[in-house]
Each structure stands twice: as C-alpha cells, then as structure tokens.
C-alpha cells in the first residue's frame, strides 16, 4: 500500500499507515471518534463498542478494524451517535453510577461521554447489582459498582506493570473484575500506587484513598471543555509498555 493511502471519514480524506486501525488513523489525523475502552497506549480491545462507525454501510468497531484504502466511514451521524448514546445508557444501567457522590465525577470518561453524547435520560431500567467494594488495601479502594469492564486496568497491569493484578471472571451480566490473590483481596496482591494500572481507570473503580474530591467543581478535567475537545490532546501516544507479559497473552 502506498504511503498516501487514505479512507474517507465523514467525507474527509484520512491518511493511514498499513496496520493502523480506523480510530488510530483518525485520531492521528485530528479526527475525534468517541471511545471508551480504546486507549492509545494499549492494544485495541473492541469491547465497549462506543467507537462503532459505519464502514461502507456496515457497522464495525473502529478501534479494531484495520484501515483500508478507499473505505467510506461514517462516524458523526445521527444514526451512529444514537447507537453510542444507547451503549452508554446500557453501561449506566448495568452498574451503580451515582455521579453526585462519586469522587471521580468531573474526571470520569463515562460521565463525560454521557454529557457529550447528550444522554438526557436513564433509557433503561437499571439493574442495581450488588457489588461489594474491596477496601482491604491500605492505600487503594476498589469500588466495583462503577466498573464498566473495559479491561484497561487488566491491560495496563499485564502489559506495562508486568504484574497481572487484575483479570475478568464470570460471564454475561455477572462478568466482574477479580484480583490476583488466593484470598481474592487487593491487599494480598503486589499492586503499587506507582503502577500504570492505577492511572487508567476511566471511571471510579480504582481509587487512591484519602485524596478524593481534591479538585473543586469547575476545575475538574471535564468542567471547562467536553471530552470531544480534549481527547485529541491525548492521542496518539506511543505505547509506554513493552506490551509483553510472558504469562498473559501467549499469542504474538
């Protein structure tokens, strides 16, 4: 493929290098596509589906679909944004998200996406699952109520920290985060405050204790500008980890 290969995103030509997925190419070229489980520093994963776009008339997750020359991609359309809004509503319905009392409020990607996509109602009846917190660790709190199962902490802990503190267990609606300890408690893992896994949670699951609500309303991350205006600043970035963990992904 030539270095001038491009695809059309909402009518604009977007260049890409072979191997890039749609979202990687779009973000590199300064085009925002809403996303949640995608993170420029980790291998695309494709589970939240918020980054879904229409490619040549068919829907696909833009974070995992390799870009190809001549693709016609629709992203910022009513139909696709409707779908994204519904997916975000589903994530809210699935967990226990009480923004006013959550210390991640204002810095939360899910909340910011909700605002930006115009989520004005609950949309679905909420499930109100029973998810006890893990406060066993002296410095870190795990509040599973807010987990959206994006696996960013799983990927960060495995790919960057080389610890694999987190993994997912269960399936369907009872899928949940587990930690790497026979007791099942975070205190018995080797997680450290300096771990990459501590930084990546897009919602309020992995929290440092005793530092909550540090920023006043108005100065939180998404107070001045919506997520769509900020996302491009973060992306793209070079992967920070070696991307290996002998025990994890045997593939590649």
């Amino acid at each position: 493929m030539s270095e001038h290969a491009t695809f059309l995103l909402d009518g604009e030509a977007v260049p890409f290098v072979p191997g890039q997925t749609l979202i990687q190419a779009a973000l590199s070229a300064g085009h925002y596509i809403p996303h949640l489980c995608y993170h420029p520093e980790f291998k695309p994963h494709g589970s939240c589906k918020v980054c879904t776009v229409k490619v040549n008339g068919r829907t696909a997750a833009s974070c995992t679909l390799p870009a190809q020359s001549g693709m016609v991609v629709e992203s910022d359309t009513d139909e696709v944004n409707d779908l994204r809004r519904t997916l975000v509503q589903m994530l809210f319905a699935e967990g226990n998200h009480f923004c006013p009392s959550c210390e991640k409020s204002g810095n939360c990607t899910l909340q910011a996406l909700g605002y930006d996509l115009g989520v004005m109602t609950a949309g679905f009846r909420h499930f109100f699952p029973d998810r006890p917190v893990d406060a066993s660790h002296p410095d870190i709190l795990l509040d599973f109520n807010r987990c959206i199962l994006c696996e960013l902490c799983v990927r960060a802990s495995c790919e960057v920290d080389d610890k694999c503190v987190f993994a997912l267990s269960g399936r369907g609606l009872s899928k949940h985060l587990v930690v790497n300890a026979e007791s099942g408690l975070l205190a018995d893992t080797d997680i450290a405050l300096t771990d990459k896994a501590m930084e990546v949670c897009p919602v309020g699951v992995i929290l440092k204790k005793r530092v909550g609500f540090a920023q006043p309303i108005g100065r939180r991350r998404y107070d001045p500008e919506p997520i769509s205006a900020q996302a491009l600043r973060d992306a793209p970035r070079a992967p920070s980890g070696a991307g290996h963990c002998a025990a994890c992904e045997v593939e590649e």
Partner: protein, 630 residues
C-alpha cells in the same frame, strides 16, 4: 510451591493431572476440568497450585473458572444435579421434576444443602432433546427422566453411592436414528476414504497438476503426493460442500485458504461444541459414526497439510470421551492416524480430544480456539480469521462434525456424485435433530430441498403451530410456511428442528430462549452483555403482567442495537426468536400486556408504602391519585 493445606485436593493427584498435561498453560482449561471432575470443585489452594505450576497469573485462573458453567471454586456439594432447561425439557415437565427432587433432597434450587451433600440447578440444553427431560449428575448425562427414575437418583444421592456404582441403565442413551440417507447409510470401512484420497492423481495438463508441480519444489513435497492432496482439495471445492454448523461457508474455500496461508504448522479442528438448543445430531455422529468423523478430519489434514487435530467436545458430551478415545486408539493401531498414515511418507497426523466445560459461545469458531488455548471463550476480533491465524495464531481449519463426515464421503465417491444430491445451491444431505411435539423425535437425514411439511409428516407431528428451525439463533416459522425447504437458499439450518403444537405458548418459547442467551452471553461486549439481560428482563416483565406496547417497541430497539454493534453472532441473533414469534404470534404477546398504553414497571403507590409507614399516615393525601386508572 504452595501445598494445599488440608484442602479437598490431594497434592499427588493434582501433580498427576498437571504432569499429564506437561505443565502446558494452553492446557489450563483441561487441567481445571479434570480437577473439577475429581473433586467437584477447584479450591483456592488448588487454583494457586495450578497457577504456579503452569506459570499463569492466579487472576487468570479465576477468570477461566468463572467463565465456564461447569467449573466452580465454591463448593457445590458432593453431588450436583443439573436439569437441562431447553424449551423441549420444559415441555416435558422438567420444572415439576426439579421441584420434586428439591423437596426430596431437602434443598433449595441453586444452593448447596446444609450438609454439603448436594445441589440442584438448571443448565442450558444438554443435547438430549429426543429423550428428555434430561439431567446431568456430576457431569454424567441421564436421559428420559421420569418421577420413578428421579426417585432412584434421589435415593442413590441420599445413600451417598459413588457415581461409579450407579446402575448403568440410568445412563443409557439412544441414537434414535429415524431416516438414513447417504451419510447415515454409508458403507465406508475405516480407511476407505483416505485410501481413495491418497490414490487420486492429477488430470494430465490440468491446473491442479501445474499447481502441484509449482508448489512441490517450494513446499518440499513430492509432486505425486501433492497432486493427490490438491486433487482432494479440488474435489471438495467442486462438490459445493458448505459448512454444516449454520453459517454455511464453502468448505473447499476454507480448506484452500488454510492450505495457502503462510506458516509451517497447520491445525484441523472439529467443532463438536454442539450447544444450539434443540440440536443433537453431533452426539449421534460422534457416538455411532466416530470413524467417519475422524476419517473426514484426516482427509482434511491430508488436503491442507496439517499434522495435528483437535476435537472440541462439549462438556455435556463427557460420556463420549472414552468411546472416542478408544476409536482413536484403534485407528492409530490400524495405521490410520499417527506417523506415516497408510505408509505415506510425510503424512503424519493425530487427533486429540479437548473437552469444553459449559459455554455455548465456544461454538463460535474463534471463541472455540481461545478455549482450546485454555482461555476464556471470548470470540476474537476478526480479521484475521482462523484459516490464517487460528490455534496458537497458526493456520487452522475449523469445521462442524457433520461437515467432516460429508468430506469423507466426497473423498471416496467424488464431487459429481455428491453434487447430484440436494439442490443446485445446496449439495448433499442435512441431518436434522427433530424434537418437541412429535411422535418420533430423533435424527432424520434428508437431501437438501426437503419441505418442512415432509419432515413434520415423517416425525408424526400433529396440529403443528410452529417450527423453530436451527434453534434460537435460527428462525421460527408458522403453518403458512411449511412448504418452505431445508436449503441454504431458503431455510439454512445447523440441524435443530423443534416442533410446537397448537397447545404451546410461543411467548414462553421466546422467553426461554431469551433466558438462554442472557445466560450464555460471554459478556465481552456492551451490547450483548447488557442487551441480552435487558431482553430477558423485558420478557419477564411482560410475563408478570406489567408489559406495555412500549416494551414491545423496546425489544425492536434492542434488536437494532445488537445487530449493529454486537461482537459476534450470539448477540446478533439474540432477539430473533422474540421478533419472529412477535411477528407471527403477536396476540400471544398482547394478551399479556396490562394495557396497550403505558404501564409503569412497578407499582408507584406501593413504592410509597414505606414512607406512609414512617410518617404514620394512610390518608388519601398519602396515596397517589388512582383517578387516572379508570
């Protein structure tokens, strides 16, 4: 190394299991399954031991245990009774039987008895719909459960009789073959198809010969042998054989893509994870036609140049493991497996059986491969496809059990013979798993193009209201469509053929299937994880009499979201049974709706009861106005 501290797993046995699997992390699921079978659970100590021995993080081990329905780290009791909960089991009264057993054993459904003896629960279709209701006791299948047979089971449990000492007649499973055609009536002896494959020669001057000569040098294989292999591939392509697992991909194209994929090692995988509710043909093929299955796999290996094969056998078919291994052993002894098959230099191929552990989604080929690698059975992102990046990222051909059987027949009898059967677009025959409201449930083999009414007549179905073709991920048709045909161009099917007579409530059928999908969703993607749960709760709401027209519209909206954004076929098709029955049997839904206007999902006035109690008020002002209800 952590030595299990007085846990239920003796360390020596654990060490034996781990040694049998060479400490290979790809065997994690097989190791866990064997521990589960030996001890009815995988204790935290055992999990830690396994994690250390295989060099995988403990969290990963938890993840695998939590994914598969037949694995547990919490005790389930010494005996675990699982009632198959397909709609056909429901129709045969499994609910009543379950309640009766719970009462007899003094146990609550889903909870272990206080003495740790037993637990009783339901499980997804166990593939015994022709002889239901069926149960699994510690993973062993018991068909045709009657109150008398269930009493027997209860007595054996209460007497704590070891499973090995249970009477063999409880476990007898019938084949129920009702109609044979070319496949079930075949006359091949073991090795016939392989001998025919090896004996194939290129037509002089043909494209196949040219390709063989050209590749011979590149692949380091004598051109005569390559000629035979490529001729087999050509026959499969010319036969028009399409996959029998439901998707109907052209088998020859799949094999060719795998053969042409770069890389040295290739794999043949037989998908025997027959989880679609209502289908059980693979159970019969693996039980009574195992040689034909293995012969087809070996033909495939010959055609694509593979050295290693797997059968991924669903956990519910655990009872087939020993018989299948016996057939594999005999074929090795006869020179039909192993090194230099039939004396051919370079034709080395062997087959190994991996067991699943209760996960329908593993029938999806990339999820199956993940599971073969010992991981959670989550479908992969595609592309790349398994033909180029399959097991261990190597080229892999995954086919259904029945597809391999057909391939063996084609290798022996040729493509012209095969193409002459069936229709122009659907060559050959199809096995149907007929169950439900009919006099003669069982396996029926028909040439493609057979009408639904023909099948209904042959199986003795009367007053038929609807037929679910190809299980919940297929289609539901009503009497006006019984002239339609089993064929890729009309009604494609993986084989399930579930009959409902006019006494059945199709809403309950759809609700059963909705519960199935919610239970079996792997939970990887948002739309399927949450969407299948929302569909289930919406149908439950309608069943409880709180449904409204709004809910029916919500189902259509969910369907659209799932079709647009679900990660795999499970999510795409999850709403199909509901929408199919809604389209054809709408009154069965509407008569359950509380009103055809909006109705809240809960009792608003009832929700204020606590507030009234706390304030000590019960006057009219403390109640919501009821005027609007009239």
């Amino acid at each position: 190394m952590t030595i299990p501290r007085g846990g239920p797993t003796p360390e020596t046995e654990l060490t034996d299991i781990l040694a049998r699997h060479h400490g290979d992390p790809h065997r994690l699921l097989q190791v866990l399954r064997e521990i589960q079978e030996a001890h009815q659970r995988i204790s935290p100590q055992a999990a830690t031991h396994v994690a250390k021995s295989l060099g995988v993080p403990l969290a990963r081990v938890w993840g695998v245990i939590g994914f598969y329905a037949f694995l547990t780290s919490k005790p389930w009791g010494r005996y675990r009774v699982l009632f198959s909960d397909n709609i056909t089991d429901r129709m045969l009264g499994n609910k009543k039987l379950l309640i009766a057993l719970c009462e007899k054993l003094w146990v609550e459904k889903g909870r272990m008895s206080e003495d740790g003896l037993v637990s009783v629960d339901t499980t997804s279709c166990t593939g015994l719909c022709d002889q239901g209701p069926a149960i699994l006791v510690n993973g062993r299948a018991i068909p045709s459960v009657t109150p008398a047979r269930l009493d027997r089971v209860a007595e054996l449990i209460l007497a704590q009789t070891p499973m090995e000492a249970w009477p063999a007649e409880l476990f007898v499973i019938e084949d129920n073959i009702r109609r044979k055609d070319i496949l079930l009536g075949h006359d091949l002896r073991p090795g016939d198809a392989l001998r025919a494959a090896i004996a194939r020669v290129c037509v002089p001057g043909s494209a196949v010969e040219a390709a063989a000569n050209e590749r011979s040098w590149r692949e380091g294989i004598p051109s005569v042998a390559l000629c035979a292999a490529l001729s087999v591939l050509e026959e499969i392509k010319r036969s028009n054989l399409r996959g029998r697992g439901g998707a109907g991909f052209t088998t020859g194209m799949k094999w060719e893509a795998c053969r042409n994929a770069p890389g040295k090692d290739r794999f043949v995988v037989c998908n025997a994870d027959e989880g679609e509710p209502g289908t059980f043909k693979d159970r019969v093929l693996l039980g009574a036609y195992a040689d034909l299955v293995f012969e087809g796999m070996t033909v495939c290996a010959y055609a694509i140049g593979a050295n290693h094969g797997f059968v991924y056998l669903r956990g519910e078919y655990r009872f087939l493991l020993e018989p299948l291994n016996a057939v594999l052993g005999r074929r090795r002894a006869d020179g039909l497996l192993g090194r230099r098959i039939l004396g051919q230099d370079g034709f080395d191929f062997d087959i190994e059986i991996h067991l699943g552990a209760g996960a329908y989604v593993c029938g999806e080929e990339s999820a199956l491969i993940e599971s073969l690698e010992g991981k959670r059975g989550v479908p992969r992102n595609r592309p790349p496809y398994p033909v180029t990046h399959g097991y261990l990222q190597k080229p892999t051909t995954v086919n259904n059990v029945e597809t391999f059987c057909a391939a063996a027949l084609i290798a022996k009898h040729g493509s012209n013979w095969y193409r002459a059967i069936g229709t122009a677009k659907s060559a050959g025959t199809k096995l149907l798993s007929v169950a439900g409201d009919c006099a003669r449930p069982g396996i029926y083999e028909y040439p493609f193009g057979t009408q639904i009414c023909q099948v209904l007549e042959d199986c003795g179905a009367e007053n038929t209201l609807a037929v679910q073709i190809s299980g919940p991920s297929g289609v539901c048709i009503d009497a006006s469509e019984f002239d339609r045909r089993i064929a890729f161009e009309d009604l494609p099917t993986a084989g399930a053929f579930t009959v409902f007579d006019s006494s059945r409530d199709m809403f309950e059928v759809a609700r059963n299937y909705a519960h199935f999908f919610a239970h079996e969703s792997c939970g990887f993607c948002t739309p399927c994880r949450v969407g299948t749960a929302l569909l289930k709760s919406t149908l439950d709401k309608i069943a409880e009499g709180h449904g409204t027209l709004y809910d029916l519209a919500e189902i259509e909206k969910l369907d659209k979201v799932l079709h647009q954004s679900a990660h795999c076929g499970l999510g795409h098709t999850a709403c199909n049974p509901t929408l199919d029955t809604l389209k054809r049997f709408r009154p069965m839904y509407e008569r359950r709706l509380k009103s055809l206007e909006f109705e809240p999902a809960f009792d608003l006035d009832g929700a204020l009861a606590k507030a009234r109690q706390m304030t000590g008020r019960d006057d009219a002002g403390a109640h919501l106005s009821l005027e609007s209800e009239s």
